[in-house]
Symmetry: C2
Subunit: 567 residues, 2 copies
């Protein structure tokens, strides 16, 4: 670690979420968070452009990202300047993270089509938001054809290509909106577009492409020479093959500098021109870095859904792990494999229950808090309920959007709080299933660090996770881990640290409060998890031919045992 | 049919329910219902004595029945006397029906122990209400031992003895409250106790015993000489065998006269002494008669739970039907087999949902009506949901209280009204399963007549039943079919008709409004029923080893087809 003698140094992390952008100014010496500012995107509904006729469609206005950067960063700089000792020249580097896969159709110069007059009102010419699910048929086709390909393009992303990913969306545009497809010279990931724009290098041929989005979302892997081969792309559509050559063919890790801030942008935000900007990456990966990810440490980013992130050394021979969203060299920490898993819905399931099924007595004030007050007094197994956490499908380990929720064990006295707890437990069982899968394939999970809204604000959920997984649950010190992760990369590209690991050791940490498993609870949950896993395998995998008749009876037996205090 | 020339003739039906007693005065000529009066039982909580320490316990004060008779019948007689042309001497007979199995421990004279000072506060000395579930262990033991018995005592009641039934409760009393057991000379069913008391013949040895409770609840069958043999009873407990000889060993059908109203009772209610009283029967069986049950006509009594009643001729060789609660000669209509099936919870499931899970927007006024308004506009399959109707176990065809509810297919957008509809559909699927089972064993269901609160008041539920079963749903003309059924037996024992069938032809009928199946809805429901049956067999039977992985995907496919209007 080197430290300039010139006084304080700061890094700026800019985290482009789905509904807002957050800028965070951090002291590179110890990660102290000086100023943060959040800007909601102005276009659409909470920043999202919707089609009333198609609930699967979710687009964004690329101009919102640019405006969001201007507004959030200039606000941070203005606020920081009011502090003693801060000068804009103290900002050594800027790190960028974004949602993804969020491909944007651009012209030959790299300008988003949506920013051109003739496409301004064409939803297909905007950014295709990660949660856009219009491309389910194309995803299935890609999965089918990739499975037959010699190069096993899906071996690094769990064996199934998602409708949320890069090629599915482009192929769907080719079929559903050929005018937009034909007008697009290339499709640039949002995490690449922003650094390109900020550093004045938007030419699709030359703009730096991040390994994170390329590897996790576009089937990029060195094993088959980068992107999938032209023959394969041609098998999807003849016109797709041309795209391969029009967008940087070599992908870079995020400790690389994309360029220096161009004068026009620098002026708008009150920073000196030339401040180094990193090669962008996806938000969850940056959040993992901001939570101090390292070998053996699982970072869970728990919000409406989860991302479960691990790193593994590249010196040993990591097998392909079935069901993982991706295994990509350098996608999280350069020099290590980045592993991404996740649950399609966690907070979203609790929110669904509160929005649609919360009785009046829990509705006043914060229904989550009200339900939690009753739910947290229940003992594991006491309700006799068991749920599957599949209301939005299953991302890991089944990689199957065509699944749905299940609740079992209801009596004539089952309460809302009991169901709420069962849903929380279901997401914990889903989380444990991911941990187990990692360990089955040799990726040892020695500790778990959580970040995101639920980790921050919900002790009840975190305690259930500790009890269900029978592991301590630690919480990331930073409540804005994604932006902090981006700032760490800003510090590295700004020369404050030689490596991401060195920066992490100084700039990240966990809170003193640790949720420790309760022995008795963990014992009951081990029984319940066996039943969860039985339902999971029966409804979620092909070929299950085991019995089911024990499930309700076992739950009743556990319930009776717990209620009579023999537990 | 004979009709006296002496002017108008009336029959009185007295229906002893769980929470109240209903007296109904009927014109025997055409079933016209003149006056009715309902009296709530005064003791306990809604007439039920509870133990705060044991939710399974449910007892009743036998004195409530006597008081309830006095109060309801005298009110009816008083009101009738205000009408022109009615005189108490016009009452030709009284019919009695009660809940059951509701055994009452009595002394040598037939006086309930609970009416004696030293047992007045002893819950075990009161009537053991049908819904008392304290005797689950004893029921399991009886099932186990009866299965080994040469005489196959359970062959006429579906193969499983219930904790709600006669011997389970007595055996439990022997073990849990030996002081009460030892003080009891005999255990008399409520449906026998009331006619005995009203006619002044309470001696357990000589009081007329009804075939209905004996056959359906006490394993009485002529095939093995009445009650189970002493050796069998001794195998349960040596002291049980003695009871066999202390309570009329031959059971009678309800068209038999138990005796004439004793003067003391007659005086209290304003009727002449000597009015014939029938041999009592259970309420559901009387309700079936009041709804015009006959060969090929299934009568469904739909309330918090259902009773599904059929009759079959005794000339052909009816096989034992697995899962039926009972097949008893003459238990409904004398001269025919009475078949009883049922669902453990129907209205109770809807009430559970409304009580525990109805969001504020549906809570004002009548939540059922509010939910129905949204639920009835949904198309079959549109929600993607499928439920099992087992929140209170499954009475027919699985005869298993150790089952529980299941809801499957939830998304992040599933609404309360969608779930409400899925629960209604689940009970309809359960109803269809009973129809199918009857027909599989040669009991043809040519028409369905419904009665009870839900049949009366809920067109939405009845339409779903019509669509799911693909059969017209008719509604009994009388809204108080049990009391009417009792009155019919009163008319028969009073000599107004020679047979129950003859009385039914004049005194019962169906409403003009018939719920007819919608062809398209029935088609989708046929698909959904296959999936219901798959879950039913997987979770409810032993030995299922089929696949499950199709269930969620099939529901999603049906949902997408229905929503896109290709259905």
């Amino acid at each position: 670690m080197k430290k300039a003698a010139a006084g304080p140094r700061f890094a700026l992390g800019v985290d482009f979420g789905t509904n807002s952008v957050r800028a965070l100014l951090v002291d590179v010496a110890d990660g102290t968070e000086l100023v943060t500012h959040v800007v909601d995107y102005p276009s659409g509904e909470q920043g999202i452009l919707l089609d009333p006729k198609d609930p699967n469609l979710a687009r964004q206005n690329p101009a919102d990202y640019v405006e969001g950067f201007y507004e959030s960063v200039s606000a941070v700089v203005r606020a920081a300047k009011r502090r003693r000792g801060f000068r804009p020249e103290h900002v050594v580097g800027i790190g960028i993270d974004t949602t993804g896969s969020t491909p944007i159709p651009v012209d030959r110069q790299g300008t988003p089509l949506a920013m051109k007059r003739q496409f301004a009102n064409n939803l297909d010419a905007h950014a295709w938001l990660w949660k856009d699910h219009t491309s389910a048929a194309e995803a299935a086709e890609i999965t089918r054809k990739a499975a037959r390909a010699k190069d096993r393009y899906l071996s690094k992303c769990g064996g199934t290509y998602s409708s949320e990913w890069y090629w599915s969306k482009i192929l769907h545009c080719r079929r559903a909106a050929p005018d937009v497809f034909d007008a697009a010279y290339a499709w640039v990931e949002l995490s690449d577009f922003l650094p390109a724009f900020l550093t004045g290098n938007t030419d699709p041929h030359t703009l730096p492409r991040g390994i994170c989005a390329a590897g996790h979302k576009a089937m990029y892997h060195e094993q088959w020479g980068g992107l999938p081969g032209k023959a394969f792309l041609r098998s999807l559509d003849p016109k797709l093959a041309a795209l391969r050559d029009r967008y940087a063919s070599r992908a870079l890790t995020s400790d690389q500098k994309a360029g220096g801030l161009v004068a026009a942008v620098a002026e708008k935000v009150g920073l000196p021109p030339g401040v180094p900007v990193n090669v962008g990456a996806l938000d969850a990966h940056m959040g993992a870095v901001g939570s101090g990810i390292k070998r053996g440490r699982l970072v869970k980013i728990i919000g409406t859904s989860t991302c479960d992130m691990m790193v593994a050394p590249m010196d040993n021979d990591l097998p392909d792990v079935p069901g993982l969203c991706g295994i990509v060299p350098g996608s999280i920490v350069p020099g290590m494999y980045g592993l991404e898993a996740g649950q399609s819905a966690v907070g979203d399931i609790f929110n669904w229950f509160v929005s649609y099924l919360t009785p009046a007595r829990y509705a006043h004030g914060d229904p989550h808090a009200n339900l939690t007050r009753d739910a947290e007094h229940l003992k594991p197994g006491e309700s006799g309920l068991l749920a599957l956490d599949w209301n939005n499908g299953n991302r890991t380990i089944l990689v199957d959007p065509l699944l749905s929720g299940l609740l079992l064990g209801q009596t004539l006295h089952t309460t809302a709080a009991e169901i709420y707890r069962a849903l929380v437990e279901a997401t914990a069982f889903g989380a444990l299933t991911i941990i187990n899968r990692l360990e089955e394939y040799g990726v040892e999970v020695r500790e778990v660090v959580n970040c995101g809204g639920i980790a921050e604000k919900n002790p009840f959920v975190m305690q259930v996770y500790a009890d269900v997984s029978n592991r301590p649950m630690k919480i990331s010190r930073s409540a804005q881990a994604c932006a902090l992760g981006a700032a760490i990369f800003g510090a590295v590209v700004g020369g404050a640290y030689k490596s991401v690991g060195a920066a992490q050791r100084r700039m990240t940490g966990v809170k003193p409060l640790v949720y420790r498993p309760n022995k008795a609870a963990s014992k009951t949950y081990a029984e319940l998890y066996r039943l969860y896993r039985q339902l999971h395998d029966a409804f979620g995998t092909t070929g299950y031919r085991g019995r089911m008749e024990n499930v309700m009876k076992d739950l009743i037996a556990i319930r009776n045992r717990v209620r009579t205090g023999r537990d």
